[in-house]
Amino acid sequence: MSRAPRRPASLARPRGQVGCPACAEVEEILRRLDPALRVEGADLMARYRRALRKVSARAPAERWQDRLIVRKIRPGASVLDLGCGAGDLLAELMCRRRVRAQGIELDPEEVVRCVERGVPVLQGDLDHGLQGFPDRSFDYVVLEETLQTLHRPLTVLSEMLRVGREGIVSFPNFAWWKVRLSLMIEGRMPETERLPYRWYDTPNIHLFTLRDFLDWAERERVRILGGYAYESGRVRPLREDDNLDAEEALLFLRR
């Protein structure tokens, strides 16, 4: 599953430095779209809309990152999960990796569910930072699918890299080609399986792309130790040019 699926020849993109990468991506989208439109015409858009309606009724699929994170974390480590929800990841880590787990979660209902399964959880608002947590007091600090919901994402990012020896972050990539398609063709805010919200009820308030994130990391001298991409139900190691193909990204970071 971590092996990269072979890219169909028709979708191959020119490698190397060929002017502005963003322009290249737009060309790529048009190229992908063009044959489909020619073949199926208006029917494609109808099917596309139907599919969107179906997925938007569902909650986001199970967190695909958990499996990879569990595999990555060594037994006996300490793990702080920011926005731990009902404690799924931590419960699994406690069982399978015997970690010292600590979650932070804002939603009182989720907090109670953590307590019910014995996951230690601090109720608190990540936007208030991690004051009080000493530097490097956890081996790993995890921030899954939460960064884009925060009021102060950069504060939380730098805090997680201060408190943890290693940061693990995952987020939806708003440069994924289907998201762009939705904006470009439909002129509407995207709704996908992993982003099943309308513009008015989305918790995602800071929208960014994989490239935005990598820019930030470079500027802040944050090293990317590795990563994975999620694309239409499949997971594979992240590629350098995944800004277009990755629906979601999972990155391992270190300051």
Binding site: R98, Q102, G118, V121, L122, G124, G132, F133
Partner: protein
């Protein structure tokens, strides 16, 4: 005289009767002498005290392995009578227990959050109190008269050490959990700090590592009212027929306000007036909240000893969990081995959520697993007693979850 003002409070609150399947039923307090002339008890102040009797109650059955003991720690005005109906209330001269079951009856019983079919629950009255455990109203063997304020100062640490002596007496080496709210929560903390290897779980409700300076101020005013009541008589009022009832009632009324919250009081009383208010030259209880507080004051006087109030409130002032780390709470928390859950209530201004969070963070900084929950409630500090549904869910979940993989 009936108190009209009780109506907003007492309206639909129903208690399960002693024959209900969810009640622990009729209870009988037990008293044990834990210190005598041969085996005196050395207090933190340096003085020794003997004899010491301790009143306690137990519910449920101790498992053959003795691993299901849950110790409940009561707050300032509490007693060992946690749940059920006291079969000895009349004979022991505690008529108030005829009207109400134990103070945490909603939490403790068969099928309740602290399920007595599973846990063996024990609670003892603290040293210096007036509910069967030795206190200022007890007879000083040296003089043959009540101690009054010659009773030695007591501390939360003394209470916990005496509770440990009780556990020794009962043959309990290790507790599954200690649970307490308010100053009971501080006893729970003290247990986790003083006897880290004698408990597996620690639940601290509506409490903090220490009382806030605002809390110190309120306690001072309460004591001031008692000490300056002319009937206080230097603490030797026991033979006078009447004690400092007015002072004690004022202390209770003031304290009671700190147990509530502004929105909670607004919801309960608003600015509603009593029917036919007035009297006493226009300064009688005009608003419902006035007669409610007056009732709280009066009924407290009926059941509590002023000297005990002074001693216990002093112990509450003095407690500081950071003492175990020479003033550094994080260092202190390194001692703790138990899983800990700290619960605050959003409208509590006696032990505000900020303090509970500080304690939780200290535990976290010390590398301890900790659960901290700030429950939304407009009831104020009293929420730990009143919000049995919310608190119960958490306490039950915490007691029954050993944690994944354990």
């Amino acid at each position: 005289m009936e108190f009209r003002a009780e109506s907003p409070m007492s309206s639909p609150r129903k208690y399960d009767p002693p024959d209900s399947p969810t009640s622990v039923g009729w209870t009988r307090p037990q008293v044990v002498r834990l210190a005598d002339a041969r085996r005196p008890f050395r207090l933190e102040c340096g003085r020794t005290l003997a004899p010491i009797d301790v009143e306690y109650e137990t519910y449920g059955r101790l498992s053959p392995r003795g691993d299901n003991a849950v110790l409940i720690l009561h707050a300032l005005s509490g007693d060992a009578h946690v749940a059920g109906w006291d079969a000895t209330a009349e004979a022991a001269g505690r008529p108030w227990r005829l009207r109400k079951p134990g103070w945490w009856n909603g939490m403790v019983g068969p099928g309740k959050a602290i399920d007595t079919r599973r846990w063996w629950v024990v609670c003892s009255n603290v040293l210096g109190s007036c509910y069967g455990t030795t206190g200022p109203a007890s007879i000083d063997p040296a003089t043959g008269r009540p101690y009054g304020c010659r009773f030695p100062p007591v501390t939360v640490g003394d209470w916990v050490r005496l509770q440990a002596r009780l556990m020794d007496h009962l043959g309990i080496r290790r507790l599954h959990a200690v649970i307490g709210g308010s100053i009971g929560g501080q006893q729970a903390m003290e247990w986790a700090l003083r006897y880290p290897r004698r408990l597996d779980n620690c639940i601290v409700l509506a409490s903090g590592a220490r009382l806030s300076v605002q809390g110190l101020a309120f306690n001072m005013v309460g004591r001031h009212a008692i000490l300056n009541d002319p009937l206080y008589a230097g603490g030797d009022y026991y033979q006078n027929g009447r004690g400092p009832d007015v002072g004690l009632a004022v202390a209770r009324m003031l304290a009671h306000i700190t147990y509530l919250s502004e929105p909670g009081m607004h919801r309960k009383f608003g600015r509603r007036r009593n029917a036919g208010a007035g009297g006493e030259g226009g300064f009688g209880p005009e608003y419902e909240v006035e007669s409610y507080l007056a009732h709280q004051g009066r009924s407290f006087v009926e059941r509590f000893d002023a000297n005990s109030y002074l001693y216990i409130s002093r112990a509450m002032d003095a407690y500081d969990a950071a003492r175990w780390g020479r003033g550094d709470l994080v260092v202190a928390c390194h001692r703790i081995r138990a899983r800990t859950m700290i619960v605050s209530f959003s409208s509590d201004w006696l032990y505000p959520p900020r303090q509970s969070r500080e304690l939780a963070l200290a535990l976290c900084r010390a590398g301890r697993e900790v659960t901290y929950v700030d429950l939304p409630s407009d009831v104020g500090h009293d929420a730990f007693l009143v919000e049995t549904e919310k608190v119960g869910r958490l306490v039950q979940a915490f007691l029954e979850s050993g944690g994944p993989g354990r």
